[in-house]
């Protein structure tokens, strides 16, 4: 499955970049600067979406005590942290020319920063406990408590008066963007999505091997006979 998702990710991102830079027209208000949207919005969506997937696996791990779910949480966390960082980084590079500042303590930006700390906190907590099963449980609870932050991020632009603009794409009222811009952005988002699956699957393979190194099936793997 991994090569498939890698290939889909590469194709979609290349197409998305082409559409974003050469097909989509210049914005009448922000000029060429708006093109940051094609990485900013997909990265922000992924930062929240990956956290929800992590929370799902963390809950599965706590309820059914399955080992693979905790490994999935562990495999997703670095990718989620990376997308959160990218969301903040590209946001700063967008805020500077449009708002005149790299950073404001605005509800949207602050809650996204908290999300970044949640990812870092999860990684730190998990790696600080030697016993894997205890680390899984403790950090799963951290992930589940942190889920309250996701709706806060999502609705922050509605609940508070923020410098960050309201959602351009919404389930209720549709999109306020030109179709070609929207399509380019969605292609990029799908590409990022496939990328995340590919990277998480790649990482979970190492985690499984590490944790199951004493089991018989690992010692019988073809890769071990070299």
């Amino acid at each position: 499955m991994l090569p498939w998702f890698s290939a889909i990710a590469i194709i979609l991102i290349v197409v998305g970049l082409y559409m974003g830079f050469f097909v989509a027209p210049t914005d009448y208000k922000q000029g060429e600067g708006y093109r940051i949207i094609f990485v900013h919005v997909p990265a922000s969506w992924m930062s929240m979406f990956i956290y929800l997937v992590m929370a799902f696996w963390a809950a599965m791990g706590l309820i059914f005590n399955t080992r693979i779910s905790a490994m999935m949480v562990q495999a997703l966390a670095p990718t989620g942290a990376m997308f959160t960082f990218l969301s903040l980084w590209t946001g700063a590079f967008w805020g500077k020319p449009m708002w005149g500042t790299w950073w404001v303590w605005d509800a949207r930006l602050t809650s996204e920063l908290i999300l970044f700390f949640l990812y870092i906190g999860y990684i730190a907590l998990h790696s600080s406990i030697d016993d894997n099963r205890r680390a899984d449980r403790a950090s799963a609870i951290l992930v589940l408590v942190g889920v309250v932050n996701i709706p806060i991020i999502y609705y922050s632009v509605k609940w508070w008066n923020t410098l960050h603009q309201g959602a351009s794409v919404s389930v209720n009222s549709g999109s306020s963007m030109a179709t070609i811009m929207l399509v380019s952005m969605l292609v990029m988002a799908l590409g990022f999505w496939a990328y995340s699956i590919a990277v998480a699957l790649g990482r979970v393979r190492s985690i499984i091997l590490e944790r199951e190194r004493d089991s018989t099936w690992v010692s019988e793997l073809a890769e071990m006979r070299r």
């Binding site: 890698s6 830079f21 210049t26 000029g31 060429e32 600067g33 093109r35 940051i36 990485v39 900013h40 990265a43 670095p78 990718t79 990376m82 960082f85 990218l86 980084w89 590209t90 590079f93 967008w94 500077k96 020319p97 990328y195 590919a198 990277v199 790649g202 990482r203 393979r205 190492s206 091997l209 590490e210 190194r213 690992v218 010692s219 890769e223 071990m224 070299r226």
Partner: protein
């Protein structure tokens, strides 16, 4: 061409965003791959040492 890279005066911001994204999204898969290799090496060494330990 020059016009394209200039991005209507927003070059620093547009390329700063896309550059960092490209950097991280290329680095991460490489890190995952090198981790996979080192894990395989370490685990296979463990497995082999266990095997020889059983035989002696």
């Amino acid at each position: 061409m020059k016009e394209f890279f200039n991005m209507g005066g927003y070059a620093l911001y547009v390329w700063g965003s896309f550059g960092m994204t490209a950097l991280l999204m290329i680095a991460e898969p490489l890190l995952v791959r090198s981790r996979r290799r080192s894990t395989l090496r370490r685990v296979s060494r463990l497995v082999r040492s266990k095997h020889t330990g059983e035989q002696s």
